[in-house]
């Protein structure tokens, strides 16, 4: 998997200066946690469901081979085909081959993170196919040639004005006035895409879940675009990671009851669709060909390792919406289609930690992500695993390693520790100023290493004595 994650420090710094992006992220912080919290307040059995969801995912992963085989059996029985792809390149080749055999010229897609991960669009376009994203957010960024910046809302980073400008440039229409408000933009996108929906020969969707018991593919949207993509063209291709399978409809139901509430604060999205194979003999319409492409691309390698837990992820994006880092720098800074806390764990797993080592470090380990995860993935623990990995491999930043060595030398020797920390506390108090209304003293400016902090906020000053000094004083006072 290709990433720009090595550029995270620079991309993040630039992102902090971008006013439009910061405005969009402010809205995320203002709106998303509140609507999720409100949805779960109305669900008294939330804790139970969460435990069940975690167990369902764990159980499935523990028997993943059996469930994949069962799923495949039912798809084949329904008249569909199942393809297995070890790598991104293999998956692209398979999809390209199906499109070629279908004589396709035009392909429509609904949102699928896996297809972004394997860079499918580029492959299909190279084969001379016209590929159109139908999810509105994906359509917008496709027109702009950008990557998604959020796993559910790909165009989150754009303002309405930027979307309007994009449509004006891309859509060939006579205009009497510029596109400023959302309503005419929506109407315009709907009209433009209708024609493309009707003309495509192949429709490609992702999958939210795969039901082993029935061979069914569960696709969740609010726009209904996936349903048209899966119904109008003569060929329907589902591209999915192998970890999406669940044993039965009941298990899918538990996860569905958590997914939309975690993602958008609704009991269910507008459209929850189950697809089973190609059209039946009695159907009056529907694709005559149905293909499922099961993509591994590094997922099976995670099984049996501590990182297996990230495979529970149901892509609800709650962790992104609650993360102080994501909502400060946005998805593009991560340089990967998977951003936020889950992206910081999954991207190194799929793309290798060598090129992505900044991501697990870009976290305060505050733990909000784990507390909102509907399948209880211990994201801070997994981030720490990656950091340990980087440190053990000696592939991290030299300054970090030296800093840690220095700290270790101090911490292992009580006397230098006491001296250095007393001196540091005394210096910090010395450069502090009185707090407002005689409150705690604060430090407005620390040169060099401290500027990253004090440039944006004050640091509370230590009281002047270290804990050990105060402890000794207290002991002496008690004895006398």
């Amino acid at each position: 998997m290709q990433t720009d994650s090595a550029e995270f420090p620079r991309l993040a710094r630039e992102a902090l200066q971008r006013t439009t992006l910061q405005g969009a992220l402010r809205e995320v912080r203002r709106v998303m946690p509140a609507i999720r919290a409100s949805a779960f307040r109305a669900l008294p059995e939330y804790a139970d469901l969460r435990e069940q969801a975690k167990n369902i995912r764990n159980r499935t992963l523990a028997g993943l081979d059996q469930y994949l085989i069962e799923f495949e059996r039912h798809v084949l029985a329904a008249g569909g085909e199942v393809h297995w792809a070890r790598t991104a390149a293999e998956a692209c080749k398979i999809v390209g081959g199906i499109c070629g055999r279908a004589g396709a010229r035009s392909v429509i897609k609904s949102k699928s993170m896996v297809t972004e991960e394997i860079e499918l669009n580029a492959e299909l376009e190279q084969r001379g196919l016209r590929v159109t994203e139908t999810d509105l957010g994906e359509y917008i960024i496709q027109l702009r040639g950008e990557r998604p910046s959020h796993i559910l809302a790909p165009a989150l980073h754009l303002s309405l004005a930027e979307v309007g400008a994009t449509f004006e440039k891309a859509h060939d229409r006579q205009r009497t006035e510029p596109l400023i408000t959302a309503e005419p933009m929506l109407v315009e996108a709907r009209e433009e895409l209708r024609a493309i929906f009707q003309a495509a020969e192949v429709g490609i969707t992702g999958a939210n879940f795969l039901v082993a018991e029935t061979g069914g593919v569960v696709i969740v949207t609010n726009e209904g675009n996936a349903d048209l993509v899966a119904s109008l063209p003569g060929t329907h291709i589902v591209v999915t990671g192998i970890e999406k399978v669940v044993p039965t409809l009941e298990h899918a139901g538990v996860l569905l009851r958590l997914l939309a509430r975690s993602a958008i604060g609704e009991p269910l999205s507008s459209y929850t669709t189950l697809v089973h194979g190609p059209r039946r003999a009695r159907d009056t319409s529907g694709p005559s060909q149905f293909h499922v492409v099961l993509v591994d691309n590094g997922r099976s390698r995670l099984l049996g390792t501590p990182f297996q837990e990230i495979l529970r992820c149901i892509r609800c994006a709650a962790c992104l919406n609650h993360c102080p880092v994501y909502t400060a720098v946005g998805g593009h800074s991560y340089g990967s289609v998977y951003s936020g806390p889950m992206g910081a764990v999954l991207t190194p797993a799929l793309a290798g930690i060598g090129a992505t080592m900044h991501l697990p470090s870009a976290s305060t380990l505050c733990g909000r992500c784990e507390s909102v995860c509907p399948v209880a993935i211990p994201l801070p623990k997994l981030l720490r695993h990656w950091r340990e990995h980087v440190f053990a491999q000696r592939t991290g930043l030299a300054i970090e390693r030296r800093g840690l060595r220095l700290w270790r030398a101090l911490a292992e020797h009580p006397w230098p520790y006491r001296v250095v920390l007393s001196l540091a506390a005394w210096c910090l108090r010395g450069i502090s100023v009185p707090g407002p209304d005689g409150g705690r003293r604060r430090i407005r400016w620390i040169p060099f290493v401290g500027e990253g902090w004090t440039g944006a906020r004050d640091l509370a000053a230590p009281d002047g004595a270290t804990f050990q000094q105060r402890w000794r004083r207290r002991q002496r006072a008690q004895l006398s």
């Binding site: 069940q52 167990n55 959302a182 709907r190 609010n222 048209l228 899966a230 119904s231 929850t272």
Partner: protein
């Protein structure tokens, strides 16, 4: 080795021995099956409205055609409708003012009337299945989707839906759980209606099962 064999081998290598015991689905629903039907129906209507569908209630199938006509007139829409699914019952009402459209739907702007397999009270969704009588794309291409729900079709929760689907014979190609009109938040919050699917969903709940 084929890709399939290689992936399965890698998966088997990775899974730990001794899979966890059977994890059943404990009933975490608030036992809504014990609710009287009237309460189930009321809950469905509330949840459907929360999902931005509008709901009207009629006593018999005979009143459906008029209910549809009134709705369309109030919304300033033409009285021409496409029908999809088992909806002939209401068409047999004498003197109804609707015009039943024939042939293919237009690219956009049409109204479609469908029935449903079931309606789920907990989430306020209607369940539609593809088949000989219903092509699912009709309910997505239409600008207005009118769904006929009989009161006895309302089930409490998703848990009650799955056995219903299994008992209905071989699964259809497409099962749609529809909660209100088509929406998007990609042009800002609050989400806007009419992304690709219908701009309006009107549910007509029929109390009696007899005409």
């Amino acid at each position: 080795m084929s890709a399939r064999a290689e992936i399965l081998a890698q998966v088997r290598r990775g899974v730990s021995l001794g899979a966890p015991a059977e994890i059943g689905i404990a009933a975490t629903q608030r036992q809504p099956a014990a609710l009287p039907r009237a309460d189930l129906v009321a809950r469905f209507m509330t949840q459907a409205a929360a999902g931005s569908a509008t709901v009207a209630r009629v006593a018999t199938v005979g009143e459906v055609a008029d209910a549809i006509a009134v709705y369309l007139e109030t919304a300033g829409l033409p009285l021409q409708v496409f029908v999809s699914g088992k909806t002939e019952g209401f068409l047999q009402t004498p003197g109804h003012r609707l015009r039943i459209a024939e042939g293919p739907m237009r690219a956009d702007g049409d109204t479609v009337v469908t029935d449903c397999l079931a309606a789920v009270a907990e989430e306020g969704v209607v369940v539609l299945c593809s088949g000989a009588l219903h092509a699912p794309e009709k309910s997505f291409l239409a600008a207005t989707h009118i769904v006929l729900v009989r009161a006895e079709q309302v089930v409490a929760s998703l848990d009650a839906l799955w056995p219903l689907l299994r008992s209905a014979g071989p699964l259809p190609r497409m099962i749609n759980l529809i909660r209100g009109p088509s929406r998007t938040a990609d042009l800002g919050v609050p989400s806007r209606v009419g992304a690709h699917g219908p701009l309006r969903v009107r549910i007509i709940l029929v109390d009696g099962s007899q005409q």
